[in-house]
Amino acid sequence: MNGLATFSLWAQKNRWVWSAIGVLVLWLVLSVVTNRFSLNSLSGIMLSASFLTVVGIGQMFVVTTGRGNIDLSVASVITLSAFVALLTIKGQDANLAIGVGAAILLGLAVGALNSLLVVGLNIPAIIATLATGYVLATATLLSNRAISGFAVSPLLKTLATGRVSGVPVMAVIAIVGVAATAFVLRYTVFGQLLSAVGQNRAAARLAAIRNNRVIASAFIISSVLASLNGLLLGAYIGGAFLEMGQPYLLQSIAAVVLGGTLIFGGSASAVGTLFASILLILIVTTMQIVGLPPGAQDIVQGIVVIFVLALAGRQVLSRRAAVDRAGDDGTLKPEQNAVAIRPE
């Protein structure tokens, strides 16, 4: 087996590598083409990507439970959470605990609601979470009226915008989170159950796995992460505005699929989601450098998602076909011709 074949086999099992390669290539190209591109701008990209990663990780948990599960309410959760944080913290570090508590509570509540709809009432996730998102959007409108002024607690601001020797604090948070997630997925029982439920729900049930609990916890994780992200994002931009979470809807899904998590469920890659988030932000940055309008940026991102899904779909098909194949090629002993064996 030559090096390329070995790599392609390895890459098939470590799909995150594609987004990592994408990041590397695009960054190199940008560095060469524009001389103003530097390590410093990379740290800016890391900062933006960190916010996306947090939401993306949550989305990844939901997608991994399979059967088309998806969380479309993340955008509204982010926005509402940013407003709730503003209203509760009021720019005081003293209120920070209450604010964080409120954000977590909001995430838990929305996650529980999504789980109730999807697991309890068997409503397809795509509709249930879309509806939840709309309900939250209304709540956001109401809280928008209650806002008196924008003020961010200094500590939160440090978390969201600060740097330690050039490295954004937020990026450290995201990377630690990704590492923890990767550990959970790979080395804990919960990670195994999540993967099992996503791959074969019937088999999981027969293996005495409580599918519903696993799926519900994925939705709750997604909402809580989105909510915490809203809190930090609000601190980062120094306020809150309607629709501020909106870009994260498509981008979080894009980060998940681009990172090599199977959209059909059962296989997740936290590292992939991190790299894919960076790649997506890089793509957006590239388009800004080129001078494309925001609308065109959405178009490109949409195309990237479609392209990746088309590619992933093909890969799954070819993999299925490979499984259906007859024997193991390694032990195959080809006959020269189709020899007819006659009875003696």
């Binding site: 099992a196 005495a208 024997g327 006959e335 064996i341 009875p343």
Partner: protein, 522 residues
């Protein structure tokens, strides 16, 4: 019954009622320690339901379960596992993206104090079970990279690793090669020696007689016979199952096949991983002829059929119907040219389970009943009634949902659907898979009748008796190739088995090994 083995589990007057239908009626069933307790019955007789009750997947509507003399009730399969009852399910219940070891230890992962899974330990323990199966499966292999037969062995290893006191096996051999069956039987003997009670369900009667110690026969949810295996023979089992001595196979009626109706030349289907799944297969079929294609799981039979039906765009080769080259490459137009396929997987590819029997029957031929924009109800109904009568489909009302029928009758609906397209050539992929003896005989009679009417029939099977009894000619496939072609008169079991093992790994399928399985013919 002899008290040679102690009863470990006892069902007393257990009944199970599903919305209106009684699946199990007052069953009294005893499972004995250190013995193979065989359970047979037609499809829909209630075997699987009974087993699911024991395994805790279903709860009985009435009756008691006594485990070692103590009344128990299981609310989930987890409860049953906790009490030492394991089950190998008929359908594969594995997670493809996980390794063999991860599958074996799913839900009972070995973890350290921090909750971190100890993969090394899992793989070591899994290796111990796999070694006993001698199938060359490594614990770190991904399940989706295994052949179906190997996957089934993993399923078995998973159940064995539970250290169960009672192990239920629901058709464990359906996907195994003859050599793998031998291994399984060795494992079963080993478990028996350790005092495990095995409940064994299978449709393969020779198999049951060979390894069973006690036999229980179910019919229509009732237990109709319970005996020690040494006191019974095949005839007895069949009698208990269907209430009378049924001939297994329809006899040949001696009609002569006509002109060549179908010919395939150099059919090839590449594999994604390189090599060919169907390797230059050429064969011809005459009108009124039944050509049996024998081969082990994965020999390429189904793939050949798929190629002929135009289900693979990247397949190559030529096919001819009545001497004319078929240029159409898609399934729809090939059906119009007179090809029809009875797929192996009835549930997934043969039927739309939420539609009625009638709708399923006319699904492939609706255009024949259409005038302008609407379906002529009368013509459709007439065709449905004709098919139900001709194929003797047991259904009270064709408007009934097809999923309410038994396996054999569902299969007849699939056949009826194919026949309504007016085919010249019928491809049947494992037509008797998962259906009971009575229904099998019915399906075989139907095949005979159709061939008498001039239809050319290609049927694929991995059942040696079946291919010997039904075919006018027998083709053997192995590893994608045609490795043998026999006339009925000259075919011997030994030659067919030898041809079917060509091109497999060394020592994996030595014919010597196979002899006992099929050697004890009645």
């Amino acid at each position: 019954m002899s008290p040679a083995h102690d009863v470990i589990l006892k069902l007393e007057d257990v009944s199970k009622v599903y919305a209106g239908t009684v699946a199990v009626k007052q069953a009294n069933f005893e499972v004995r320690k250190g013995a193979v307790n065989v359970l047979v019955g037609e499809n829909g007789a209630g075997k699987s339901t009974l087993m699911k009750i024991i395994a805790g997947v279903e709860q009985p509507t009435a009756g008691r379960i006594l485990l070692e003399g103590e009344a128990v009730s299981f609310s989930s399969s987890g409860d049953a596992v906790a009490r030492g009852i394991g089950m190998v399910f008929q359908e594969l219940n594995l997670f493809g993206n996980m390794t063999v070891a991860e599958n074996i230890f799913a839900t009972r992962e070995i973890t350290n104090r921090l909750g971190k899974i100890d993969r090394k330990a899992q793989e070591r323990r899994a290796g111990e079970f796999l070694d006993r199966l001698e199938a060359g499966i490594r614990p770190d292999m991904l399940v989706e990279d295994l052949r179906i037969g190997q996957q089934q062995l993993v399923e078995i290893a998973k159940a064995v690793s539970l250290d169960a006191k009672i192990l239920i096996m629901d058709e464990p051999t359906s996907a195994l090669s003859a050599a793998e069956v031998e291994i399984l039987f060795k494992v079963i003997a080993d478990l028996k020696a350790r005092g495990v009670a095995i409940v064994y369900i299978s449709h393969r009667l020779e198999e049951l007689i060979r390894i069973g110690d006690y036999i229980t026969v179910l019919r229509d949810g009732r237990i109709t016979g319970q005996e020690e295996m040494k006191n019974v023979d095949t005839q007895w089992i069949v009698r208990q199952m269907i209430g009378s001595d049924a001939k297994d196979f329809a006899k040949a009626d001696g009609h002569q096949p006509g002109e060549e109706i179908f010919r395939a030349e150099e059919i090839c289907l590449p594999r994604v991983t390189g090599g060919l799944a169907v390797d230059h297969v050429s064969l011809s079929l005459r009108a009124g002829e039944i050509l049996g294609i024998y081969g082990l799981m994965g020999a390429g039979r189904s793939e050949l059929f798929d190629c002929i039906m135009g289900r693979h765009g990247h397949a190559s080769g030529r096919i001819f119907i009545a001497g004319k080259l078929v240029k159409e490459r898609d399934t729809t137009r090939r059906i119009r040219r007179g090809l029809a396929l009875i797929p192996e997987d009835r549930q997934r590819e043969g039927l739309v389970s939420i539609l009625s029997v009638a709708s399923n029957l006319t699904l492939a031929s609706l255009s024949r009943f259409v005038r302008l924009f609407h379906i002529r109800g009368a013509a459709e109904r007439q065709a449905v009634v004709r098919m139900v009568r001709e194929l003797a489909i047991k259904v009270a009302d064709p408007a009934q949902e097809v999923s309410s029928l038994s396996g054999g009758n569902q299969q007849k609906v699939v056949i009826g659907k194919a026949l309504l397209t007016g085919p010249k050539v019928l491809l049947m992929d494992e037509p008797s898979r998962g259906i009971d003896v009575g229904a099998k005989a019915d399906v075989f009679r139907t095949m005979r009748k159709l061939s008498r009417d001039g239809l050319g029939i290609l049927f694929a099977t991995s059942d040696l008796d079946e291919v010997m009894a039904l075919s006018d000619r027998i083709a053997v496939m192995s590893n994608g190739r045609l490795t043998g072609m026999f006339d009925r008169a000259e075919a011997t079991e030994a030659a067919i088995v030898a041809a079917s093992a060509l091109g497999h790994g060394p020592g994996h399928l030595a014919p010597v090994h196979l002899a006992p399985v099929h050697g004890e013919q009645r």
